[in-house]
């Protein structure tokens, strides 16, 4: 049976209206509701289903981030992960943490924990990078199955249905492997109340990138974060003639 390592990221809740900080250094996160990245929920769900089908022996949830990332790990534990690893990265270091760093961290942990399968969401809804699965596989030199919408288990291999432009692609990969979860892979369960309570007893190990020998020195500089341009107010026109006149006036026709 496989040991599964799942990456879970704490992001601003999808329902929150994002505000940019006045100094344009980033978005406002203080006092803003956060939640687990929705694609990571799908990743955890897939791992939990593997365990329920006795295809997985243990699920380890990993989150890189500030102390509050533990809440996200707790949610993963409540959904069915067995234990957590919190890689603490906070403050300015976290602001410039990129998929390249996270990939190295996940790769190192996958080796240390003797994982057979690493699953992450296909992208995080805050930075939309869509790189972590690919780079983790590269660092480990394992096969990658990205954008999974279905995962079937054979002996020592996985049959993966991928969502690609214009259709579905079916591939086979040997394990160990790295997968990224797409939207239609499954419908993640709620963490139920008793399971949330039980999750409090599950262990979370705290480590730093340094402990793992990963250098998190920034590779990028954030120059400016800006709001998308405000959409100009529309107006209701009385009839088609007025519309045509307006379009002409704007040089559109």
């Amino acid at each position: 049976m496989a040991r599964v390592l799942v990456g879970v990221k704490r992001v601003i809740d999808y329902a929150v209206k994002i505000r940019v900080k006045p100094d344009k250094s980033g978005v406002v996160t203080d006092g803003v509701k956060h939640a687990m990245n929705p694609f990571d929920e799908i990743a955890i769900e897939e791992a939990v289903r593997m365990k329920e089908k006795k295809l997985a022996s243990e699920i380890i949830a990993v989150s890189c981030g500030p102390p509050q990332a533990q809440e996200t790990i707790r949610t993963a534990l409540a959904m069915g992960a067995d234990r957590g690893i919190h890689v603490e990265v906070a403050g300015a270091e976290y602001d410039t943490l990129q998929p390249i760093h996270v990939s190295k961290i996940l790769a190192k942990l996958a080796q240390d924990e003797k994982a057979d399968i690493v699953i992450v969401g296909k992208q995080a809804i805050d930075d939309d990078a869509n790189q972590t699965a690919q780079m983790t596989a590269a660092v480990l030199d394992w096969p990658a199955g990205t954008f999974c919408s279905k995962v079937e288990h054979g002996s020592g291999e996985l049959t993966i249905t991928r969502e690609v432009d214009g259709g579905l692609e079916v591939i086979k990969v040997k394990t160990p492997a790295v997968l990224s979860a797409d939207l239609r892979l499954n419908e993640p369960r709620y963490a139920t109340l008793p399971n949330i309570m039980k999750a409090k007893k599950k262990p979370i190990k705290k480590v730093s990138p340094k402990d793992l020998g990963v250098d998190t020195a920034p590779r990028i500089d954030i120059i400016s974060v800006e709001d998308p341009p405000v959409r100009q107010a529309g107006s209701i026109l009385p009839d088609v003639d007025a519309l045509v006149a307006k379009l002409k006036e704007g040089g559109h026709i």
Partner: protein, 634 residues
């Protein structure tokens, strides 16, 4: 003056029934704090010192311990937990539950109820080791607030199960009963119900006729009787049933029927139920008659002691009342959201209707009663979590206040929305229908008002009685007498003897607090005068008792908002200035109402109106409806 106590000591029977409820309450999830003994106790049986704010205002005294500072019972971890729990509950209501469908179909479909069980919503306060979520009262309040905001019918299904259905097992169950039943009503997905009401015993719950007789070998009881309007009655597998049991008093040797609580399983045999009742609201909540015919209950399924059932029942109800206030503050929140969304968009006569004073007054009043209700709910749950045992009057007040406020808020929300409010699609008419029951069940508001007034009066009376005893043995009780003499003397010479709040409230609220203090002072005087005037007969003066109850509710509500707003001001919350406005406006009006009600209860011209009310009602009842024909004499 002190002579009145004699009369109160001979408490009439009818009063007893109300104040029997006044046994100390048990709180889930909290161990009682040791109460510091009163040093000035006289030699004879002393009057019990209650920590209740409400109880003490009947003596004209401020007992701030359970009001100031506003309780903050959550540890950081408990706060985190409830935040985590609120998410899945919110999602359930957004993604799975459909309140319109529940209402239309008068049931909760299989998929929805399965999701509720899966979520763990049926076992919020059951300890984790028995399969529940192990929530404190305060965490529970935060959870049911979400339920109340979304679907009251689902709320009653949940509440009948855990707030009353198996609460007796949590509060009074022995370890074996807990181990056997709590996992079944949580992970086992078996519904529970609370079975007290009978066709001839509603408010007068002590008069139930259902009877259980112990077998000759003592191994079991045989239960016979029937219950009416039992929530979850058609679904429940596990029921807390109240029945008369012949109990022999060891002292006198006499045998008398006494109410006793039992855990009854449907599977014992002989348990059947009627069809689901068709109701005005909370339609998806199952309500049914339940019949017991020669049901064999194992002797070990007695809950608490033989003959203690009435206390068990009242404690269960007391223990759950704050939950109703919490749920209904959620309901009000969602009604007010609908009304303000509408008011800020609707244009009439060229202006947004929220610019008109009429609408503004409605919105302000709705927000204020919501603020009071919400503050009461979390104050009581917080006190319970902190180990309070003296919360039953406050719990009763919160139930009355919440149910009436929610009704008014929903009604005014509909009014603000005009015709749109009346449309089914707006969703308020369902809430209105759902809300009506909250003033009726779990003790009608009328009965709870009498309970508040009579319990408070009895407490005040018992203190007068204590004073009387002190006079019989003055040397031993000098301290008590001096204190009382000073109290009365300062009052007589008109010195300011009203209680002092200044160390308790934020400076901005001093003026409002003074109004509350004045209310407490007048209240104590009014009660003392009423005791002098009516003596034991006060128990039958319902016109007057209701005014006292109303004054007590308003006074408690003032203290609660003073405390909450003080907390918000001290913490400099973003909403602090708004809360200050509400607290000030509330105290100004409430103190006026207190003065009015106390005046009404004593002034001759009002007493005359009351006697007229009595006569009018008698006339109407005698003629079986309206006495006069219409002006056309048709």
């Amino acid at each position: 003056m002190i002579r009145v106590s004699k009369y109160i000591s001979q408490t009439p029977k009818c009063l007893n029934k109300f104040i029997e409820i006044n046994s100390r309450c048990l709180a889930t999830q909290a161990s009682p704090k040791t109460v510091k003994a009163d040093e000035k106790k006289p030699a004879q049986k002393p009057a019990k010192e209650s920590q209740s704010f409400t109880m003490n205002i009947f003596r004209g005294q401020l007992q701030p311990n359970q009001v100031f500072p506003y309780p903050e019972p959550l540890t950081e971890e408990q706060r985190e937990t409830i935040v985590m729990l609120m998410d899945p509950m919110q999602k359930f209501f957004e993604e799975v539950n459909d309140p319109v469908r529940n209402d239309d179909e008068s049931s909760i479909n299989e998929k929805t109820s399965a999701a509720l069980w899966e979520l763990g919503a049926f076992g919020l306060q059951v300890p984790v080791e028995y399969g529940g979520a192990g929530l404190t009262n305060t965490q529970y309040a935060a959870g049911v607030e979400i339920v109340g905001a979304n679907d009251l019918g689902v709320g009653i299904t949940l509440g009948a199960h855990q707030s009353i259905g198996f609460k007796g097992i949590l509060l009074f169950g022995n370890p074996e009963q807990k181990a056997k039943y709590l996992p079944r009503v949580t992970e086992g997905r078996e519904y529970a119900a609370f079975c007290l009401t009978e066709p001839t015993a509603g408010s007068d719950a002590g008069s139930i006729k259902t009877r259980a007789v112990k077998s000759a070998d003592g191994s079991h009881y045989v239960l016979n009787g029937s219950k009416i309007w039992i929530s979850n009655g058609g679904l429940a597998e596990i029921m807390t049933v109240f029945a008369q049991v012949p109990v022999t008093d060891p002292a006198t040797g006499k045998t008398k029927d006494k109410v006793t609580a039992f855990i009854v399983e449907r599977s014992f045999g002989g348990v059947t139920n009627g069809p689901p009742e068709r109701k005005m609201g909370i339609k998806c909540s199952n309500t049914a008659e339940v019949y017991y015919e020669d049901v064999k209950i194992p002797a070990e399924n007695i809950l608490g002691q033989e003959g203690e059932g009435f206390k068990v029942a009242m404690n269960i109800l007391n223990n759950g009342r704050f939950g109703m206030a919490a749920a209904l503050s959620g309901t009000m929140r969602s009604c007010i959201k609908k009304a303000t969304d509408f008011a800020t968009q609707r244009l009439q006569f060229g202006q947004r209707i929220d610019s008109y004073g009429t609408i503004q007054e409605k919105i302000a009043r709705m927000s204020m009663v919501h603020y009071v209700t919400e503050s009461m709910a979390y104050m009581i749950s917080g006190n319970m979590d902190n180990g309070s045992q003296d919360y039953h009057l406050e719990a009763a007040i919160s139930k009355c206040f919440a149910s009436e406020s929610a009704w008014n808020v929903c009604d005014e929300s509909i009014q603000i929305m005009g015709g749109m409010g009346y449309m089914k699609g707006t969703g308020l008419e369902r809430v209105m229908r759902d809300l009506r029951i909250f003033r009726i069940f779990e003790g009608t508001n009328d009965i709870l008002r009498l309970f508040v007034a009579l319990t408070g009066i009895q407490y005040a009376g018992s203190h007068l009685q204590e004073l009387q005893r002190a006079f019989q043995n003055p040397t031993a009780n000098l301290g008590l007498l001096v204190e009382e003499a000073t109290r009365r003397a300062t009052r007589a010479v008109g010195l300011n003897s009203s209680p002092n709040f200044s160390h308790l409230v934020h400076p901005e609220l001093l003026e409002s607090a003074a109004l509350c203090a004045k209310s407490i002072q007048s209240f104590g005087q009014a009660i003392e005068a009423a005791l002098v005037k009516y003596k034991r007969g006060i128990v039958n003066e319902q016109f007057i008792l209701n005014r006292y109850a109303q004054a007590a509710m308003d006074t408690y509500a003032m203290a609660v908002v003073l405390s909450r707003a003080t907390m918000s001001l001290n913490k400099n919350l973003p909403s602090a200035a708004h809360e200050l406005l509400m607290a000030q406006a509330w105290c100004a009006e409430a103190s006026g109402r207190v003065a009015y009600n106390l005046n009404v209860a004593s002034a001759g011209k009002h007493l005359d109106i009351f006697s007229k009310f009595g006569k009018i009602s008698r006339n109407v009842c005698e003629s079986g409806g309206i006495v006069q024909s219409n002006p056309l004499n048709l």
